[in-house]
C-alpha cells in the first residue's frame, strides 16, 4: 500500500472508530447514496420565488446595491454599440477581449466601428473583458459564469473592467434554480471545471474595515441584460 493509501485508511478508520460505525453498514451506505442522488432542496428564501420579470428586476436591484451597473437592451444587435458607449463613458480604450461563446461570436461587432475585439484568455495588458453569463440569480444579484472552451475564467478576474451579457430568460430566482440548469446541461453530479458566482466588482475591507473597490479583480462590473420583449412575461 502506498503512503497515501495508508494514511487514507488511518483517517477513515479513526473516523469510524470515533463514530462507532462499521465501514459496510448497508443502512448508512444507502442513506448517503440516496442523499447524493436526490440532492433535495433545503429552505429556499421566499424572495427567490418570483416570475421571470420579478427575477430580472430583483437581480438588477441587488447587483446595483453591490456596486455593479446594469443596462438593458432589446436586441443582440444593440450590444456592440452599448459596449462602445460604456467604454467612452468611462474614458477607456475602445479595445476588448472576449471568449468565443457562440452568442458573442454572432453579434454584429462591425456595427461599433471603433471597437477592437480580441478573442481568448485574458492577458495582463487587457483593460476590458466581455463575457456571457451562463445564468444569474435574483436573490443575491449574482452572475453565474461557467468555464469552457468558449468562456475563459481569466476574463472574469484579470482585467480592471468586466462587461457581462446575460439573457433575461436566464435569470433564475435562487442558487438551487441555477444548479438545476447546470445539471440539465452538464449532467447530474457533473460540473464544468469552474463555476464563478459573481456579485459586484472586487472589493476589500482589510484596511480598517473601509470598503474599497478593485482589490484584485475588476474595479468595475457592468451587466448588459438582453431583454427581448417576448421573453419578459
Amino acid at each position: 500500500m502506498s503512503d497515501n493509501a495508508t494514511r487514507r485508511e488511518q483517517i477513515l478508520g479513526r473516523i469510524r472508530t470515533s463514530l462507532n460505525v462499521d465501514a459496510d453498514s448497508m443502512e448508512r451506505l444507502e442513506l448517503v447514496a440516496d442523499r447524493l442522488e436526490d440532492h433535495k432542496r433545503n429552505i429556499v428564501p421566499d424572495r427567490a420565488s418570483g416570475t421571470v420579470a420579478q427575477n430580472v428586476k430583483q437581480f438588477c436591484e441587488r447587483m446595483e446595491a453591490v456596486n455593479g451597473t446594469v443596462e438593458h437592451v432589446k436586441t443582440p444587435s444593440e450590444i456592440p454599440g452599448a459596449i462602445a458607449n460604456y467604454l467612452r463613458l468611462h474614458n477607456l480604450p475602445q479595445k476588448i477581449r472576449r471568449g468565443s461563446d457562440p452568442a458573442l461570436e454572432k453579434l454584429p461587432w462591425g456595427k461599433a466601428r471603433s471597437l477592437e475585439v480580441a478573442v481568448g484568455a485574458a492577458r495582463k495588458t487587457d483593460e476590458v473583458s466581455v463575457s456571457r453569463a451562463f445564468a444569474a440569480v435574483a436573490e443575491s444579484g449574482t452572475l453565474v459564469m461557467t468555464s469552457g472552451s468558449d468562456n475563459p475564467t481569466s476574463l472574469n478576474f484579470l482585467p480592471e473592467n468586466h462587461i457581462v451579457v446575460v439573457e433575461a430568460g436566464r435569470v433564475a430566482g435562487s442558487y438551487e434554480d441555477a444548479w438545476d440548469v447546470v445539471r440539465a446541461v452538464y449532467g447530474d453530479g457533473e460540473m464544468p471545471r469552474t463555476v464563478n458566482l459573481i456579485s459586484g466588482p472586487s472589493r476589500t475591507g482589510d484596511i480598517e474595515q473601509k470598503i474599497e473597490l478593485g482589490a484584485h479583480g475588476p474595479r468595475r462590473l457592468h451587466v448588459i441584460v438582453l431583454n427581448r420583449p417576448s421573453s419578459a412575461k
Binding site: P152, Y175, T194, A215, H216, G217
Partner: protein
C-alpha cells in the same frame, strides 16, 4: 507556528495597554456587529436556515467517512488527486514535495487557515520556495512576519498608518514621495505589486470553505478575487482542506453560503464564490493543468463522538470573534495560536492539547453572545465549560484557584453553616459600605476591587429572599 497560548494572561495584559491595537480593535464592534445584525434581519428565513445548517453538518459528520470517500471518487473522476494527511507536519511535507517536484520558485496563496495550521509558509521558505500571500490582509501581515489575528480579517489589528509604514519599508522600488494617506492608495499599490506575482507563480494554493461530495468540487469564497487569480493562472492548483469541510450536495452548500457571508460581513453572498472541479478540460483556454486536494485530519477525527463533535460544524465566519467582549478587548494574537476568539478557545485545545491551550477556555465571561450569533448554533460556552472541567481534572488549574474552589466546596457542603456565614457577610458588607453602597476594599478580593468598586449587598442573602418569597 510555536503556540504561546499558555501565556494568554500576559499576552492579554500586553494587548490591553497597546494603544495602536486598541484603536484598531475599536473598529470591530462598529463594523461587523451591525452589518451582521442588519443582514440577519433582512432575511425572514435566517433563523430557519441556521437550524438547517446545523442539520446538514450534523448529518455529514455522522457519515463523514462515506462523504469523504464519495468526494474523493468524484475528484479522481474529474482528473484530480486527493492526498490524505493525518498530521500538520505530514500535510506541510506533502505540499512542499508537490511544489518541489514541479520545480516551483514562486507560490501564490489564497487565504487559508489550514495553511497557518500546518505552518506552510515556513516549510516552503526552508526549501527556498517563495510563498506570496495574495489576500490583502494576509499580504500585509506576511510583510510584518505576523500571523492572522482574525479568521476573515487577518489584519484587523492594524491601523492604516502602520500599513503605510510597512509598504514604505518593503516596496522600496516605488518613489518615496508617493501619497499613501488613503486606504484606496494602499489597496492600489498592493494590487499593482501582486499582479505580476499571479502571473509568475508556478503553483497556486487556496483553502476551501466547502467540499462537495456530490460533484467532487472545492468551494472558495472571497471578496477580492485574489483566490481566483491564484488558482486560475498557475499550472498547478493545490487545495488545502480539513476533513470536516465536506458537505453532501450543491443544495447543502447553497444553504451554508447563505449563512456564511451574512454572519461574517453582513453581505448576502461574498463577491466571488467559486466552485472548482478538477483540472482544466480539453479545449479550455485557461485554468490549472493539475488539481490536487490535501485532506487534513490533525486531531479532528478524534473529536467525533465526543462532547466536542459539534465544534466541527464551524464554517469559520468569525461572528463569534466579532461579538466576543474578550476578543474585542484583546484581539486575536493574545490567544497565541492560529484560531482565536470563542471558536479558538474550543478548537485549539483539541488540536494542540489541553496542556498547551487549556487556559484559553477561561478567556470567557460566559455572556453567551457567541452561541447566539453562531450560524451553526455551536454551543460554544458549554464546550468551554467542558474544557474547564478537564483542565481541573488534569490539575492544570492554578493553585490559588484550586484552593479557592476547595474552600468554597467545603462551605457549600455544609448548608447550615454556609447560610449563617453568608448572612453575616451580607450584613457586615452592607454596614461597611455605609451610604455609598459601594466597597473599595474587600478582604481576599484585592485584585478584583483594584479596578472597580464592589456594589454592597442589600443586607439579605438570596436564600433568605427566596424563603420569604415562598411564604407569600
Amino acid at each position: 507556528m510555536e503556540p504561546t497560548s499558555k501565556n494568554f494572561k500576559s499576552n492579554a495584559a500586553g494587548a490591553l495597554t497597546d494603544a495602536q491595537l486598541q484603536r484598531a480593535l475599536s473598529n470591530v464592534p462598529r463594523g461587523f456587529v451591525k452589518k451582521r445584525a442588519d443582514a440577519a434581519a433582512a432575511l425572514p428565513e435566517f433563523e430557519q436556515l441556521r437550524d438547517q445548517g446545523r442539520e446538514i453538518k450534523n448529518h455529514t459528520l455522522e457519515h463523514l467517512d462515506l462523504y469523504l470517500e464519495a468526494f474523493e471518487e468524484k475528484v479522481v473522476e474529474a482528473g484530480g488527486y486527493v492526498h490524505w494527511a493525518t498530521t500538520a507536519q505530514e500535510a506541510c511535507d506533502l505540499v512542499v514535495r508537490l511544489c518541489l517536484d514541479r520545480e516551483a520558485q514562486t507560490v501564490t496563496k489564497g487565504k487559508s487557515m489550514i495553511s497557518e495550521e500546518i505552518g506552510l509558509n515556513a516549510g516552503l521558505e526552508k526549501m527556498n520556495i517563495e510563498p506570496v500571500e495574495t489576500d490583502l490582509g494576509e499580504y500585509i501581515i506576511q510583510l510584518r512576519g505576523e500571523t492572522p489575528s482574525h479568521l476573515i480579517a487577518p489584519a484587523v489589528h492594524l491601523t492604516k498608518e502602520q500599513i503605510e509604514a510597512d509598504f514604505r519599508r518593503t516596496h522600496t522600488e516605488l518613489p518615496e514621495e508617493r501619497n499613501l494617506d488613503e486606504p484606496a492608495s494602499l489597496v492600489y499599490e498592493a494590487r499593482q505589486i501582486l499582479r505580476q506575482k499571479y502571473i509568475d507563480a508556478d503553483v497556486g494554493i487556496t483553502g476551501a470553505n466547502f467540499l462537495i461530495a456530490e460533484t467532487g468540487t472545492s468551494v472558495i469564497v472571497t471578496n477580492e478575487g485574489n483566490g481566483d487569480l491564484t488558482q486560475t493562472l498557475p499550472k498547478t492548483h493545490i487545495v488545502l482542506a480539513s476533513i470536516e469541510k465536506v458537505v453532501p450536495t450543491l443544495e447543502d452548500a447553497s444553504t451554508l453560503v447563505r449563512l456564511l457571508a451574512r454572519s461574517a460581513t453582513g453581505q448576502d453572498i461574498s463577491n466571488y464564490t467559486t466552485f472548482s472541479t478538477g483540472p482544466r478540460r480539453r479545449g479550455d483556454p485557461d485554468g490549472p493543468q493539475e488539481y490536487h486536494v490535501v485532506l487534513l485530519d490533525n486531531g479532528r477525527s478524534s473529536m467525533l463522538g465526543t462532547e466536542f463533535q459539534e465544534m466541527l460544524r464551524c464554517i469559520r465566519c468569525g461572528a463569534c470573534l466579532n461579538h466576543c467582549p474578550v476578543y474585542q478587548a484583546v484581539g486575536g494574537h493574545a490567544y497565541g495560536w492560529v484560531y482565536s476568539g470563542p471558536m479558538g478557545s474550543v478548537l485549539t485545545p483539541n488540536l494542540i492539547g489541553v496542556n498547551e491551550a487549556g487556559h484559553l477556555p477561561n478567556a470567557s465571561t460566559f455572556c453567551g453572545r457567541c452561541e447566539e450569533v453562531c450560524p451553526m448554533r455551536i454551543p460554544l460556552p458549554k464546550m468551554m465549560r467542558h474544557w474547564r472541567e478537564r483542565e481541573f481534572e488534569k490539575h492544570l488549574t492554578p493553585f490559588a484557584a484550586r484552593r479557592g474552589l476547595g474552600v468554597w466546596a467545603w462551605f457549600a457542603m455544609r448548608p447550615k453553616f454556609y447560610q449563617r456565614v453568608t448572612r453575616w457577610a451580607a450584613r457586615i458588607l452592607k454596614w461597611r459600605a455605609g451610604r455609598s453602597g459601594r466597597l473599595a476594599n474587600v478582604p481576599l478580593a484585592g485584585g478584583w476591587v483594584k479596578y472597580r468598586d464592589l456594589p454592597a449587598p442589600q443586607g439579605k442573602t438570596f436564600q433568605q429572599m427566596w424563603k420569604e418569597r415562598d411564604n407569600v
